[in-house]
C-alpha cells in the first residue's frame, strides 16, 4: 500500500488556481522528486499536502484521509516539512529549534537519541547549539531546518529546496545524508530541488510538473535519460 496517495489535488492562492488535479503515489521508504520550471507548482504541491494552502481533492496518508485537516494535525501523523525559506525560529537557540521539532513526541529518551544523531549528521549545529538561530549562516539554518524535521522522526519528509544556500560540497553531503536516512530508516521523501541531477541521483521516482499538471512520470533513471528533461532541467 502506498504511504501517501494523492488524487485530483487542486490548490488555490486566493482566486488563482495553481494545481490542476494532481494524482500520484509515494511508496513507503522511497524517494520521489518533482521537477519543473519556476511557477509550475512544486512548492505548492508540498504546501498542499500540509494544508498550508486552500486545497481540493483527496489526500490519504497511511490509509487515513488527511484532506481538510489542520496543518498541526497532519504533521503529527508523521509528515515533516522542510519549508522554503527554512522557517527558522530566529530568536530561539539552535538547540531549542531542534527540540521544537520533537514537540509532539512523548518519548524523551528517543528524542535525546535523535538529537545526538542530528548533531552527528551536522557537527556544525552542535558547535552552535547555544547560539541564537537567527545569527546562523544561511547554510547552517538550512541544516537546522533539516535537523528539525528529522527530530520529528517522520515517516514522510517534504523537502523544499534543501540545497538552498548551501555550498556545493555541503549540498552533496546533505543529499548523501538524506539518501542514507531514507534507506536506513525507511523514511519516504518528496523532494523539490533546483539541482535536478542531485535530486534524480537519490530519487527512485520522478514527476515533471508544468503549470499545475503532471506531464511526465516514471522512474528517476528513465526521466533522467529523457532528452527534453535533460535539455530543460539538467543542462546537457
Amino acid at each position: 500500500m502506498a504511504l501517501l496517495e494523492v488524487s485530483n489535488l487542486e490548490a488555490f492562492y486566493g482566486q488563482t488556481q495553481v494545481l490542476r488535479g494532481l494524482s500520484f503515489k509515494l511508496e513507503e521508504g522511497s524517494v520521489t522528486t518533482i521537477l519543473g520550471a519556476n511557477g509550475a507548482g512544486k512548492t505548492t504541491t508540498l504546501r498542499a499536502i500540509c494544508a498550508m494552502v486552500r486545497t481540493a481533492g483527496e489526500l490519504v496518508f497511511d490509509g487515513r484521509r488527511i484532506g481538510g485537516k489542520a496543518t498541526e494535525s497532519i504533521v503529527r501523523r508523521g509528515i515533516a516539512h522542510v519549508p522554503e525559506g527554512r522557517g527558522t525560529f530566529v530568536r530561539l537557540s539552535a538547540e531549542q529549534n531542534l527540540r521544537l521539532g520533537a514537540y509532539a513526541r512523548r518519548d524523551a529518551a528517543g528524542v535525546e537519541q535523535d538529537l545526538e544523531r542530528v548533531y552527528g549528521y551536522f557537527p556544525r549545529l552542535k558547535e552552535r547549539r547555544g547560539q541564537q538561530a537567527g545569527t546562523l549562516s544561511g547554510g547552517e539554518q538550512q541544516m537546522l531546518a533539516v535537523g528539525r524535521a528529522l527530530m520529528m522522526r517522520p515517516r514522510l519528509m517534504l523537502l523544499d529546496e534543501p540545497s538552498f544556500g548551501l555550498a556545493p560540497l555541503l549540498t552533496e553531503e546533505l543529499f548523501r545524508i538524506l539518501g542514507a536516512i531514507s534507506r536506513e530508516r525507511q523514511v519516504s521523501m518528496l523532494v523539490v530541488e533546483q539541482n535536478a541531477s542531485l535530486a534524480l541521483a537519490i530519487a527512485d521516482h520522478a514527476y515533471l510538473l508544468e503549470t499545475g499538471r503532471i506531464v511526465m512520470s516514471g522512474s528517476a533513471h528513465e526521466i533522467g535519460k529523457d532528452e527534453s528533461v535533460r535539455k530543460a532541467y539538467l543542462g546537457y
Binding site: T71, A80, F89, R91, L92, Q96, L100, Y103
Partner: protein, 292 residues
C-alpha cells in the same frame, strides 16, 4: 536623601505593577502585533472577583490565587469566543474589538458592583521587616510579589516545553504549525496568562488607588509607556521599562515643582510620544528589518 530613597522605593512598587501590566500587554502584542486596550479593564474586573471572594470570607491568599485562576480561564475564553473570530481580519477590526472589550468590562463591573469607590485590603503585615524605614509595608510587599510573579513567568517561558512552544508560535506561526504546535491554543493560553498577570497588578494597586471601575485607566497608560520604553518586542525589556517608568514618574512628581501629583500622568504620555519619535523600538527592543 531619605526623601529620595522613599520616593524611589514607592516608585519601584508602582513600577512592579506597571511591569506586570506591560508584560501582559507585550505577551499579547508579540503573538498578534496588537495592543490589547482592554488589558487594564480585565485586570480591574479580576480585582472585583477577588473583592467578591474576600467578601464571602475566603482568606486573602486563597482569594488571590483563585482570582488569578479565574482570570486565566476568563482570558482563554475571551480569546476563543470574542477575539478569535476577528483574528487576521485586519488591524481596525481587532482594535475595535479590544476597545469594545474595554467598554464591556468597564460597564459590567459598574453594573455588578456599582461605581462607588470601595476599599481593598492589603495582605501585607503592618511593619516592614529588618527595621527598614524608607519603604512602606504595602510598597515593600508589592515589590516582592511582582518580582515573584515576573520571575515565575520568566522561568515558565525559559524552561518549560509549553513556554518554548508559545514563544515559537508567536515568532513564526507557520513553522510552529509544521512541528505540530497548536498555534491557536497557544494564543489562547497567552491571553489566559496575560489576564492572570494583569489580575496581580490589579490586586496590588487596588489598596492604593481604591477599587472602582476606572481604577486601571492611568495604570494601563503607564504600562504602555513602560512596554514602549523597554521595547515592545522584548518582554524582559518591557518589565524593566515598567520599573523605570514607576521610578521616573515618582521622582519627577516629587522634584519637579510644576508637575507635582496633578501632572504625573502626562509624564507617561510625554514618555510614550518621545519613545515613538526618537527610538520606536525602545531601549531593549529588537529592530525588525523587513525585506521587501
Amino acid at each position: 536623601m531619605d526623601l529620595f530613597l522613599q520616593q524611589t522605593f514607592a516608585g519601584l512598587a508602582f513600577g512592579g505593577i506597571y511591569a506586570c501590566v506591560a508584560l501582559a500587554v507585550v505577551m499579547i502584542y508579540q503573538a498578534t502585533d496588537h495592543l490589547n486596550f482592554a488589558q487594564g479593564e480585565m485586570a480591574m474586573f479580576s480585582t472585583y472577583i477577588a473583592y467578591t471572594l474576600l467578601h464571602h470570607g475566603v482568606p486573602y491568599w486563597w482569594a488571590f490565587l483563585l482570582a488569578m485562576a479565574i482570570s486565566f480561564v476568563g482570558g482563554v475564553l475571551v480569546e476563543r469566543i470574542i477575539v478569535r473570530p476577528v483574528e487576521g481580519t485586519g488591524v481596525l477590526n481587532e482594535v475595535i474589538v479590544f476597545i469594545g472589550l474595554l467598554a464591556i468590562f468597564n460597564s459590567m463591573a459598574g453594573w455588578i458592583w456599582e461605581y462607588t469607590i470601595k476599599p481593598f485590603p492589603s495582605p501585607f503585615p503592618k511593619h516592614v521587616p529588618f527595621g527598614i524605614t524608607f519603604v512602606g509595608p504595602h510598597d515593600f510587599g508589592v515589590i516582592g510579589i511582582t518580582l515573584v510573579v515576573l520571575a515565575a513567568v520568566f522561568l515558565f517561558f525559559r524552561f518549560t516545553p509549553i513556554g518554548l512552544a508559545m514563544r515559537a508560535a508567536a515568532q513564526n506561526p507557520d513553522s510552529a504549525r509544521l512541528v505540530g504546535i497548536r498555534v491557536g491554543w497557544m494564543l489562547a493560553l497567552g491571553w489566559g496568562l496575560a489576564a492572570a498577570i494583569g489580575a496581580v497588578a490589579g490586586m496590588m494597586v487596588a489598596p492604593i488607588v481604591f477599587l472602582e471601575p476606572n481604577m486601571m485607566g492611568g495604570i494601563l497608560l503607564y504600562g504602555f509607556a513602560g512596554a514602549l520604553l523597554g521595547g515592545i518586542s522584548n518582554p524582559v525589556g518591557a518589565v524593566a521599562g515598567g520599573f523605570m517608568v514607576g521610578v521616573l514618574e515618582n521622582l519627577v512628581g516629587t522634584y519637579v515643582p510644576f508637575i507635582g501629583s496633578e501632572l504625573k500622568l502626562s509624564v507617561a504620555l510625554v514618555l510614550i510620544v518621545s519613545v515613538l519619535v526618537f527610538r520606536p523600538s525602545g531601549l531593549f527592543g529588537y529592530v525588525v528589518v523587513k525585506r521587501v
